[in-house]
């Protein structure tokens, strides 16, 4: 009985690690799509109006960083699930 409980405990730890990894991976998909959209549109804007490239790149950099915050939230959940 105690062996079974120990095995179940190990399985739960394993499932927690798998869940954390899956959650982190899934949380990175959305920001990946978002960054693609931000940079794609910024490149279109720069190709159309090269004279405004500086402003577009400023906005693009901030947009990338904001989108990346979503992935960081997934990363933080990964840290908390794995180590807290």
């Amino acid at each position: 009985m105690i062996d079974l409980l120990a095995q179940a405990d190990n399985a739960l730890d394993g499932l927690k690690a798998v869940g954390a990894g899956l959650g982190y991976g899934l949380a990175a998909i959305g920001p990946g799509v978002g960054i693609g959209l931000v940079v794609g549109n910024a490149i279109t804007a720069m190709a159309r109006q090269p004279e405004s490239a500086g402003m577009v790149r400023t906005t693009m950099f901030l947009g990338i960083a904001f989108t990346e915050a979503l992935a960081l939230i997934g990363f933080v959940v990964f840290i908390l699930l794995n180590f807290a």
């Binding site: 500086g54 790149r57 400023t58 906005t59 901030l62 960081l72 990363f75 840290i79 180590f83 807290a84």
Partner: protein
């Protein structure tokens, strides 16, 4: 005629200054982060002890390194081509996430690791610095005359 051309050319933004804006943004963010970090580290020490202090300092270092790496990679790619910029943005995102993961897993093996202050520091510092910087950039984009370099020039002219 030439006077008109000169007047018009003064209205355009300084492209040399705007050519690689990532450097300016990140240096601003780092300066602001360095100003705020002692207060945050003191709070961490107060709430979570020495482990919290070490973890918060590590989290701040990770976020600063993340911004610096992103800016450096985009600036480097921007000099090559627009296609390289796209590659740098998406490839850099994956690389930076991998770097953060490896860095945190390596740090977790050390005795002073405290996950909660590290997690809070990562989210708060990343978003806080971004929001702070965005306010400044929003003002600059909407009112280019308020850009610090232009304000400095105007002040110099007024003093003269």
């Amino acid at each position: 005629m030439s006077d008109k051309v000169d007047e018009r050319s003064n209205d355009f933004p300084d492209l040399g200054q705007l050519a690689e804006p990532e450097k300016n943004i990140v240096s601003d963010m780092l300066l602001r982060g360095l100003k705020i970090s002692p207060a945050w580290l003191a709070l961490s020490l107060l709430f979570w002890g020495v482990d919290g202090l070490a973890s918060s300092a590590y989290g701040l270092g990770l976020i600063f390194a993340n911004f610096v790496f992103a800016a450096a990679f985009l600036t480097w790619a921007g000099r090559i081509s627009l296609g390289a910029l796209m590659f740098a943005a998406l490839g850099g995102f994956i690389l930076r996430l991998a770097f953060l993961t490896v860095a945190v897993i390596a740090f977790s093996k050390i005795g002073v690791f405290a996950p909660i202050p590290l997690a809070i520091t990562i989210i708060v510092s990343h978003l806080g610095l971004l929001v702070w910087e965005t306010r400044y950039v929003s003002i600059s984009l909407a009112y280019p005359g308020l850009r610090p370099s232009q304000m400095r020039q105007r002040n110099r002219k007024e003093i003269k």
